[in-house]
């Protein structure tokens, strides 16, 4: 009898603790009295990885928090226990139930979850970054309460590739991607086009071998990231473009260990300026440059649009060089001024349309 009761108690405690574990923290708007009259509450559901991943999730969240502070909104994020459609829908439902009617979801993998959520919760608004809602058949269905945001990763990758080739002048480079999904693939293809452009126009000799272009398959296998980077560096690769979330953390760590021993190795960062993560001594970092996407800006812009009543529902927005949605960091201590000038020139050419970067594979590697 007693044992049975205990078992029930335990089950209850476990369920309760899981529920508590999932709901993370609430951030009430910074300007205490600034509670807005219509009290918009902004929620976010994280993708694979943590809110502090110094990359995709964190970038989005920073945009949300910035908007929250500025407009005095309540903000909150939830971390799903898994990365399937069902996990995502559960957390979206939890946010809606708690009154969060403006939900930002960063990640390609939210596509089918948002497809269902946009119909199920017509009074809520959704921002989907890096994907468009569909029923699993790739036919876009962007409802009036959803906006879908894409980035021109290929342009960002191109600029990073160009900068890498110009700075190194000669040698081999590699690419480590996370999952083989469109945003990561576009980074890869753009990066390779950047290398080619540099060799055609500036006579550099930086090449990439097919065996050094790989997709690890996850965004969180740190050990694999370290081991893959180690293998590439052992084979003579000088710089690796790591567009792989947590896998990239392992690669950065390997590069740091080698740089400390005096080796000439580099990592090209992704999504945000990763310079600080690559610091191994004083101010010296192994991050050559980073292929950035202004994720925080995108999240912020959408919240701002909602506040001003001009939420672009039903649209698919594209953040490109043309609207400063992508680029490399303004400060790149590891790039020379000459390289920076040439990259800026290419950026402007992309911006005004004289230089077009392809977002399909063509005859590029993988």
């Amino acid at each position: 009898m007693f044992k049975k009761g205990l078992l029930f108690m335990l089950a209850f405690v476990l369920v309760a603790s899981m529920a508590v574990g999932c709901t993370s923290r609430t951030n009430t708007g910074g300007n205490g009295d600034g509670k807005s009259e219509d009290s918009l509450k902004v929620g976010m559901v994280t993708d694979a990885g943590t809110i502090d991943d110094k990359s995709f999730n964190q970038g989005t969240w920073e945009g949300v928090v910035k908007a929250g502070n500025e407009f005095g909104l309540e903000t909150r994020y939830l971390k799903p226990v898994g990365t399937t459609e069902a996990h995502y829908i559960t957390e979206i439902g939890n946010l809606v139930d708690a009154g969060y009617k403006f939900i930002v979801c960063p990640g390609f993998k939210f596509e089918t979850a948002i497809f269902q959520a946009q119909e199920r919760y017509p009074d809520a608004k959704f921002v989907l970054i890096d994907g468009y809602p569909h029923a699993g058949d790739w036919a876009p269905v962007v409802a009036a309460n959803t906006v879908s945001i894409f980035f021109a990763e290929h342009e960002s990758g191109f600029l990073a590739g160009l900068a890498t080739a110009l700075e190194l002048q000669e040698g081999e480079v590699g690419f480590i991607g996370g999952m083989e999904i469109p945003p990561v693939q576009k980074f890869n293809w753009g990066f390779q086009q950047g290398l080619l452009y540099a060799s055609e126009n500036f006579g550099t000799n930086v090449t990439v071998k097919a065996e050094n272009v790989i997709y690890q398959g996850t965004f969180d296998n740190v050990a694999a990231g370290q081991q893959l980077a180690a293998q590439m560096y052992d084979k003579g690769v000088k710089a690796i473009f790591a567009a792989a979330g947590g896998v990239g953390v392992g690669s950065i760590n390997e590069a740091k260990a080698r740089a400390k021993d005096g080796d000439d190795v580099w990592i090209v960062g992704v999504d945000v300026d990763q310079y600080a993560e690559g610091i191994y001594e004083g101010n010296k970092s192994i991050i050559l440059t980073s292929a950035m996407k202004q994720i925080d800006q995108a999240a912020y812009d959408m919240i701002k649009a909602e506040k001003e009543g001009v939420f672009p529902g039903g649209e698919i927005l594209l953040f490109t060089a043309a609207n400063d949605g992508i680029g490399i960091p303004k400060e790149n201590p590891n790039l020379s001024a000459d390289v920076m000038a040439k990259v800026a020139e290419a950026f402007n050419m992309i911006k005004n349309g004289t230089l077009v970067i392809s977002d399909v594979q063509g005859d590029l590697i993988k």
Binding site: T50, V222, A223, I252, N253
Partner: protein, 315 residues
């Protein structure tokens, strides 16, 4: 093929060492009769403590902060494992459930603390342990290239602990008592051994070594705490069973896992291995383990009193 082996060997060793020391910790607990599936959580505690200590101390002592971090992880791991020991030994709780509780609380608690102390749930360290090539020994043909190039100091510390553990377990009075408590605690008690005390020591040793294992992950290949040990603790537990609760067996089992996982991880980038489908390489260690466990279950050397709370009055 030999070249490939030489190429990946140092990294396989790096991956194996945390597994080895954690499984060795599990051995002390299980040989004393306490199931410890909380190894995963104890590793997370070790990762968190070492990352936090190194993060705090490295501006002042850039070179030695790593070692303080390792020591702190050992202490934190053993203290945290007291929770498991208290529940299982003093309160006679179900040892599996207590272990699960340890795993759940460790991940959540450390992330919460990290966010509140450093402002971020991920703690990045700048100075990790550096790899060294040992001068004279690395010149030995074959062995030198494999074992004495690009090694971490922690590798040798862990191997020393393994040797010491083997000695303690089989050649000292304490080792005999520990094993007796796992096989037949009543007989041990009637011989005047304090079963509770021995089991407490066993569990605390497991906490200390698992904490060290987690810390080694941080200071060698990961460099960043992110609130999870990615299943390494469970892999260590599997290695403990696969290795039949013996130090030499554990060494072999963890090394097998280490090599197999490394091959799976790097296969894409090595043309000689890329011809084998990744799914086969990635699942092979686990499938082989399943087969090995099925085949060896008849001769299983599991401690006889494992998982049973010690009840003095029971006969």
């Amino acid at each position: 093929m030999w070249l490939v082996f030489v190429q990946i060997f140092p990294y396989a060793v790096t991956y194996t060492i945390p597994l080895l020391i954690t499984a060795l910790g599990g051995l002390f607990s299980e040989r004393s009769g306490i199931v410890n599936i909380g190894l995963e959580g104890l590793m997370v505690i070790g990762m968190f403590t070492s990352a936090l200590v190194i993060y705090t101390l490295e501006p002042v002592y850039p070179g030695t902060a790593v070692w303080f971090g390792l020591m702190a992880a050992v202490i934190a791991g053993s203290l945290f494992s007291l929770l498991h020991a208290f529940a299982c030994i003093t309160l006679n709780a179900n040892q599996v459930i207590s272990g699960i509780a340890i795993n759940m609380i460790a991940g959540a608690l450390t992330t919460y603390l990290a966010r509140n102390i450093t402002g971020s749930g991920n703690i990045l360290i700048v100075h990790s342990l550096s790899r060294k090539t040992i001068p004279v020994l690395s010149q030995i043909p074959l062995v030198g290239r494999l074992f004495f190039t690009q090694t971490y100091a922690t590798t040798w510390v862990v191997l020393a602990i393994l040797a010491l553990s083997s000695f303690v377990l089989y050649k000292t009075v304490f080792g005999l008592r520990l094993r007796a408590c796992g096989e037949h605690p009543h007989a041990a008690d009637s011989a005047g051994i304090n079963v509770y005390l021995i089991r407490y020591i066993g569990v605390m040793l497991s906490g200390a070594l698992a904490g060290l294992g987690g810390a080694i992950v941080i200071v060698t290949y990961s460099g960043e705490f992110s609130g999870t040990a990615s299943g390494l603790g469970f892999l260590a537990l599997a290695a403990l069973i696969f290795g039949q609760w013996k130090p030499a067996g554990i060494l072999a089992a963890t090394f097998f896992f280490g090599i197999a996982s490394t091959v799976a991880n790097v296969s894409q980038v090595i043309p000689a291995l890329a011809v084998i489908p990744g799914i086969i390489l990635k699942t092979s260690p686990y499938i082989l383990t399943l087969f090995a466990l099925v085949l060896s279950s008849k001769f299983s050397q599991v401690p006889k009193a494992l998982g049973e709370p010690y009840d003095k009055g029971k006969r």
